[in-house]
Subunit: 587 residues, 2 copies
């Protein structure tokens, strides 16, 4: 070893010891008689001391070193004159008697500090320097720790981690696949998995019973902010279980992570049906760190001559406690907020419940004080509160109000990243109508089972929208961190489902034939769930972006600016693969 | 849960308990008054008993079930009349009072037994049924267990598992890449990693110090038997270490696996230089479960008028203890063996040391009894031994003799799969001459460091073949299970290495520029190693084929016969990707 100790472990207990440390020069301070160097490695920082009087030659050498030089220092652990209580090694320093430069460094393009002066692009281009910074390093350490916790927990529950193939068959249903031309089978392609869905179901048919895998998945989507073309899932599947068993198992996993990583313990996670979640929060992933639930107002709001309300399918609002003092300017800003294209509301109605018991609203013209009182009572509002009301088509309005609720939560500091509010959203709709293609799509995926009591509705096309699925999401702080479903294990029901989704028998068999075949050989009842691991890590790490928790992420064009991938390949490679790049795509 | 217990856990301790089991019908026996069903799940087999007298209806139902039906049985644990001591549950059975068919099954295409009647192709096509068989299931369980052991061991040594990208940049050096067309960047391609080599070195530059990853890798090679286009590595890298530290660390990991999985404990693994391995065993992955080391005979074999010997660069042989009684037929078979094209020798010379002290050989014409005695003395042979001798160009002859040595090991039962003989092979040559392209290639990869004492030879092209690398392989029972090297961390040396390999500055920078750039910002001394995880599992599982340890392997054409991948994709997909399949490849 080049070193006897790390830069994070020496304290007064080691006083007098001869040690060798290695690391990077974080900073150096030249105080005339003394030169100090902060030597950094993954484990911490230790101060090296050089004395101009006792060892001028070495001290001169130390003074010439630049930032991020890689050093090996041998010396004695001594007590510091001026201690630094902020770091574990702050009571000691190393009186150096030998110093070796293991490697030089150019001056880094940004500062290697917790708060760097480097912009996002620059830091991504030099990601290997960015990772030297504490916040990024800690994120990757957290990710490692969480992966270990997940694996050991599930392994302890008899789950087996089984690796499924990365080179699979392309299935056009769902998002777009990345494909891989096969040289040995010209004209044919593999696809990279969007998830190991079919393979994990096959493993259940294979009797493997409890499967998991922390696995890379791929989706060739137009990248929205904070989406990655490759991402990691904790993918799980179980046999001989009901929904209750699955929820309990993975609630157990989530609680274990909260306990180990955050020191937090939870009672049973609340559960809410998808319909209730939409009605109460306008979202299938409600942030329940705070209340401010939706209050539906049709009966008290309609019939007062205010056409917007009278003509609306739904009048619905939230009550912001203690916000009656909001200024004109603040209210205008809220109106602007809901009118932004991303939210899309036509306008915002407010009612202030003044502390003197009177009401002041944007609809004073139409609503008497008593009528406003009736609305306030419906909200359970008290003097000092501010009521914010939207109206329009029911679902659209709910989603607009959801955005406003989250905005108010932010403004009132109700969305503290150190507070965690997990819940289950259950009973998702089985099918989702798509206006564009004029057909139903599986909301979850085509293998999700309708609830047994709703299965008969599959025979009545007019009721397809009402069918509920045995599907569930785990949501934390308004973020969907996982989801899954009871799977269809009966081939007949699976066929019916494919027909519902507009597959002909041939098309279904062409795409899912091997799974359908497998189901004829004794498929057990089974169910599963997958967590988005990148997202889960970012949530536990208290950050918004998943990129901060991926060692080498890609940018929004799917590009790795560090390595310069993707890139053109040689004509020889193309020839071997028997493919051509279309003329229009050539550069 | 559909069940209260598994089929592998009930014993007499549970006598009298009401239980519910789920599983697959392994076999049923109709004995007239009684019907017995072996119910199987991942955990074992439990016998279900149905009594025609006490419950004729249920018994009739049970008789109608086919193989591999999925059943749920409720009943009472009772003591068996005739016990089966071969299985843990053999002392009990379930007196069933409720039986539910959870799913039917077609008759499987092969028997779900330890020894199946299904051929390889059929079992691969129905791999989900193949996995139901104990041997395959146990292999996957072993693989899971070994992955957990590796992760927990390395994590305990401060290694962080860090996920590196799967969509990376293509690097023509080395084996052929699988490529992935980028839709968002038309005309450009990602490559799938052959290993995370460059990323793990960047993580060292990033200060991460101790990295590992159990990671999928890809190689688009013409598949030899038992090669897979996707395979799994335990990929590791460390900073601030010398070769000695790396060997000790991963020897520790291997010992840990041997101890935990096989109950075997080892002293320090032997180490042998590459040159010695070639000289003593004719292989860089010698099987040292048995001796039979090479004996070089030039001085005693030449000059006796036997032209083949006299003209050969090397005369070399092995001594097979106690084989002097080999018949003419056996000796002819050995001659045929070495003459096979895969071995390629021109012929085989034998000398029998008869038990009466005389010699009988295929070169009696040229070698007197005394001269044969001199050869025998060189071998340290005793009466009763058989000496087998080859001659020709040194390296070729050694490799031929290696094949013969292994064949003799097999014939003499010296290669017991329950015996494990690990060792390190060190000091590999840095460069390998390729006749075809008339240039040197990196034997390991272009980032491997020459031994410090040999670095000066880089300046003398005539000596390039003599340069030794700080590169090492871990070999068990003649199988290379892992390998690695000290990396070059100095940019100047790396540049020199690229030049040696025939890269221009531009070409090197185009391909490895980001790594070379990274090395200018304080790269620490570092080194690493990767284990072939599939191979490691098969070795610990006592099997020859890695396919038995992969849940869903591909065949020798890179095809998954179960899912039918690869397959053509739609024109729409091709259009989106801006690529065409060449006309000649279309089917």
């Amino acid at each position: 070893m080049y070193r006897t100790n790390t830069c994070g472990e020496l304290t007064l207990k080691n006083k007098g010891q001869e040690v060798t440390l290695c690391g990077w020069l974080q900073r150096s301070r030249d105080l005339g008689g003394m030169t100090f160097i902060d030597l950094r490695d993954r484990y911490g920082i230790t101060q090296l001391a050089f004395n101009m009087e006792t060892n001028p030659e070495l001290c001169e050498k130390a003074r010439k070193l630049g930032r991020e030089y890689v050093l090996q220092a041998k010396g004695t652990v001594i007590e510091r004159a001026s201690k630094n209580s902020k770091i574990p090694t702050g009571e000691i320093e190393i009186e150096v008697h030998e110093l070796n430069i293991l490697n030089k460094s150019k001056n880094p393009p940004f500062t290697i500090e917790d708060k760097s002066d480097g912009g996002d692009d620059l830091r991504m281009r030099y990601r290997y320097l960015d990772i030297r910074r504490n916040p990024v390093r800690r994120n990757l350490e957290l990710r490692h720790r969480m992966a270990m916790l997940v694996r050991n927990y599930l392994s302890g529950k008899d789950f087996l981690e089984i690796e499924t193939p990365m080179l699979i068959k392309s299935t056009p249903e769902g998002a777009r696949d990345f494909v891989v031309p096969s040289r040995m089978n010209p004209g044919e392609f593999y696809a990279l998995p969007q998830s190991p869905q079919q393979y994990k179901q096959l493993l259940m048919v294979a009797g493997m019973d409890r499967y998991f895998q922390i696995v890379r998945c791929f989706r060739d989507e137009d990248l929205r902010a904070d989406r990655q073309p490759e991402f990691t899932q904790i993918d799980c599947e179980m046999s001989f279980v009901h929904q209750e068993d699955v929820l309990n198992m993975f609630e157990g996993l989530a609680k274990h992570l909260f306990h180990e990583v955050k020191g937090l313990d939870f009672d049973k996670f609340p559960r809410i049906t998808w319909h209730d979640a939409m009605r109460r929060y306008g979202s299938d992933k409600p942030d329940i760190r705070f209340g401010m639930e939706f209050v539906e107002l049709n009966d008290v709001a309609k019939g007062n001559g205010f056409a917007l309300f009278d003509n609306a399918e739904l009048v619905v609002g939230i009550c912001a406690k203690g916000c009656a003092e909001y200024t004109r300017k603040q209210l205008d800003a809220l109106t602007d907020f809901v009118k932004r294209p991303q939210v899309g509301a036509g306008g915002l109605v407010y009612i202030k419940y003044n502390s003197d018991g009177t009401f002041k609203s944007s609809i004073d013209k139409f609503f008497s004080q008593e009528q406003q009182k009736a609305v306030a009572d419906r909200f359970g509002a008290e003097p000092g509160d501010l009521m914010l009301i939207l109206c329009g088509p029911a679902m659209k309005t709910r989603m607009q109000l959801c955005a406003l609720r989250l905005e108010m939560g932010d403004q009132l500091g109700l969305r503290n990243p150190d507070v965690y509010a997990p819940l289950w959203v259950i009973d998702f709709p089985l099918l989702e109508w798509d206006e564009e293609t004029q057909r139903y799509y599986a909301m979850h995926h085509p293998f999700t089972s309708p609830k047994p009591e709703d299965q008969s509705l599959l025979d009545d096309e007019s009721r397809w929208g009402d069918i509920r699925a045995d599907a569930y999401d785990i949501v934390i702080n308004g973020v969907e961190v996982g989801g899954g479903s009871i799977r269809i294990h009966d081939r007949e029901l699976q066929n019916k489902m494919f027909h519902t989704l507009g597959f002909t028998d041939e098309k279904a068999y062409e795409q899912f034939g091997f799974l359908m075949d497998a189901f004829t050989y004794g498929a057990p009842p089974h169910a599963g769930l997958a967590f988005g691991f990148d997202r889960l890590c970012s949530l536990f790490g208290g950050a918004d972006s998943i990129r901060d928790f991926i060692a080498f992420p890609k940018n929004n064009s799917g590009r790795d600016v560090m390595s310069g991938s993707p890139a053109p390949i040689s004509q020889e490679q193309l020839d071997e693969l028997m493919i051509d790049v279309k003329q229009t795509a050539k550069q």
